[in-house]
């Protein structure tokens, strides 16, 4: 299914290039369909070719574009993963606290939602600036940590919301039953709330994984950190006049990161499928 969608997407791209005029379609002054010339939409074969080219033309022994993209993907993926881990932990702890104390839910939830309306590109330099001279336990703050913080900032949100819903999902019948069995809060958590939350948390983790990656890439660009896919996108975009197909290499790399991340979460979901059930009638 996934493969079929990919093929259809590719066919659509090539078909559009074939059918649409090079200059796009205009209605009066405004362009209503995008241009389809080779500079705007290179052939897929051309994009594939790019991966095999030398990154710096004419330099023998230099790495290929593919090697650079892979290295950048690996770098950014690790930053995103660190951010994801922190975000998931924070999100889950917040959800636990809010579930335990209704007062906290009323106090915190609006801010949790509000936190996501702050524009990311404004936030990234701020985090970078604040943490510039930070030193934790003799460990100096590294610029990549700022990137991970931004990734965590995006990742915690779906987890907090999803986990809160999941932890609160058991119906009164079940919570009263556990109370009737004299179960403590932690027993209720382990035996009832956590298992019941899995069906809500797995989709939230998928969102969080995707968000962490977007956050990491945007933060790399915003902070100007090199080594990751964000920087590569900028640097290849600057070469677009010479080689318009090149920019698509890191973009596809970024998309591949998303696939890997969401795929890993899907595997986790598969391992926990016992807990993901259809609501009993």
């Amino acid at each position: 299914m996934l493969l079929l969608a990919l093929v259809l997407l590719a066919a659509g791209w090539e078909l559009y290039k074939l059918v649409a005029p090079d200059d796009g379609v205009r209605l009066g002054e405004s362009l209503i369909l995008p241009r389809s010339d080779d500079a705007s939409m290179p052939h897929l074969a051309r994009i594939a070719e790019v991966f095999g080219e030398q990154e710096v033309a004419g330099v023998e022994g230099g790495g290929t574009v593919l090697a650079s993209v892979l290295a950048a993907v690996w770098y950014s993926l690790r930053l995103a993963a660190a951010g994801f881990a922190v975000g998931v932990a924070v999100g889950f702890l917040l959800a636990l606290a809010m579930q335990r104390l209704r007062v906290l839910e009323r106090a915190l939830l609006p801010y949790v939602v509000l936190s996501q309306t702050v524009p990311l590109i404004a936030l990234a330099p701020l985090v970078y600036g604040w943490s510039g001279n930070l030193s934790l336990f003799g460990l100096d703050w590294q610029p990549w940590m700022s990137v991970s913080v931004i990734a965590a900032y995006l990742a915690f949100f779906p987890v907090a919301i999803g986990a809160l819903r999941g932890l609160s999902s058991p119906p009164p019948v079940q919570t009263e039953l556990l109370a009737a069995c004299a179960a403590s809060w932690s027993q209720t958590l382990v035996r009832l709330r956590l298992p019941a939350s899995v069906g809500y948390v797995i989709p939230a983790l998928k969102l969080a994984a995707a968000s962490a990656i977007v956050g990491a890439i945007v933060a790399e660009i915003s902070i100007g950190l090199s080594g990751g896919i964000g920087r590569l996108i900028i640097s290849y975009a600057q070469q677009a006049t010479g080689d318009p197909a090149r920019i698509y290499a890191p973009i596809l790399g970024a998309a591949a990161m998303g696939v890997v991340a969401v795929g890993l979460v899907a595997l986790l979901g598969l391992a926990l499928r016992r807990y993901q059930f259809q609501e009993a009638a």
């Binding site: 019948v173 009263e176 009737a180 035996r191």
Partner: protein, 263 residues
């Protein structure tokens, strides 16, 4: 009954008020009721008469505003902590991620019983409710009636002296319902547990219990207690004249007219 056992439930002047000030609602006022050890008592009344609230007060799931609650001679809270009662609700509320056996084992696991003992006891309980072959099934693979039987087995897991049941058969079809009632009579005879049984159904209340407590709403209170002069129950009981006469008594009581002595 050799040694005198404390009553399973003793309520004195119990009241429950929800909310405060002008919007406060009296869910229950001045409830006095004693349920002897091993006795089967049904609570019946229209919606909003507080019968489910009363059941939850006995189970210490909500606290009363006034009055004293004793369960098994202890405070309601202590009785809950000692798992002196088992409880079953209208919906079975089984945990979908556990097997049928796992669901019955849950109260035992919470009590810290070892795995082997848990297994053996749960198997016995499933036999008792006629589901011996279904231990490894998932709850979703069972019919509504079977799920409810699992819930009853779970309520019985700690061998409680008291069973609290909140319309446990309310969602079942009439045929399944009658079969479950007969099962419950048998199970109670085998475990000699006292039962407080909340229901909407007059025949169900009469068939199952030794006394029917009739309640009325606004504010929730006990208006009458009808004794059920039926002996050991079997399927013929459902056709007996005395059965119908008692049903009439309860119906009259629900309408607020006390009949004189039954014929």
């Amino acid at each position: 009954m050799s040694a005198p056992r404390p009553p399973a439930v003793a309520l004195e002047g119990v009241g429950k008020r929800f909310g405060t000030g002008a919007t406060a609602v009296d869910a229950l006022t001045r409830i006095d009721l004693t349920v002897a050890a091993g006795e089967f008592v049904a609570l019946i009344g229209p919606s909003g008469c507080g019968k489910s609230t009363l059941l939850r007060i006995v189970g210490d799931l909500i606290a009363p505003t006034d009055g004293a609650v004793r369960v098994n001679g202890k405070s309601a809270r202590q009785a809950r902590l000692d798992q002196d009662y088992g409880i079953a609700f209208q919906s079975a509320g089984l945990l979908e991620w556990r097997t049928v056996q796992g669901n019955v084992e849950l109260p035992l696991a919470l009590h810290g019983l070892g795995r082997a003992k848990r297994r053996a006891q749960a198997r016995e309980l499933l036999e008792l409710v006629g589901l011996g072959d279904f231990g490894a099934h998932r709850p979703s693979q069972l019919s509504g009636g079977m799920q409810q039987r699992v819930a009853i087995a779970r309520a019985l897991a700690r061998r409680p002296a008291l069973l609290l049941m909140d319309e446990p058969f309310g969602a079942l079809d009439e045929m399944t319902r009658e079969r479950m009632q007969s099962e419950l009579i048998r199970i109670c005879a085998e475990t000699s547990a006292a039962v407080v049984f909340v229901t909407h159904s007059i025949p169900e209340a009469v068939f199952l219990s030794q006394r029917v407590v009739v309640m009325s709403p606004r504010p929730g209170r006990i208006t009458q207690v009808v004794d059920v002069p039926l002996g050991a129950r079997d399927e013929d009981t459902r056709e007996a004249d005395q059965f119908y006469a008692t049903i009439t008594d309860v119906r009259e009581a629900l309408r607020g007219r006390a009949r004189e002595a039954s014929p």
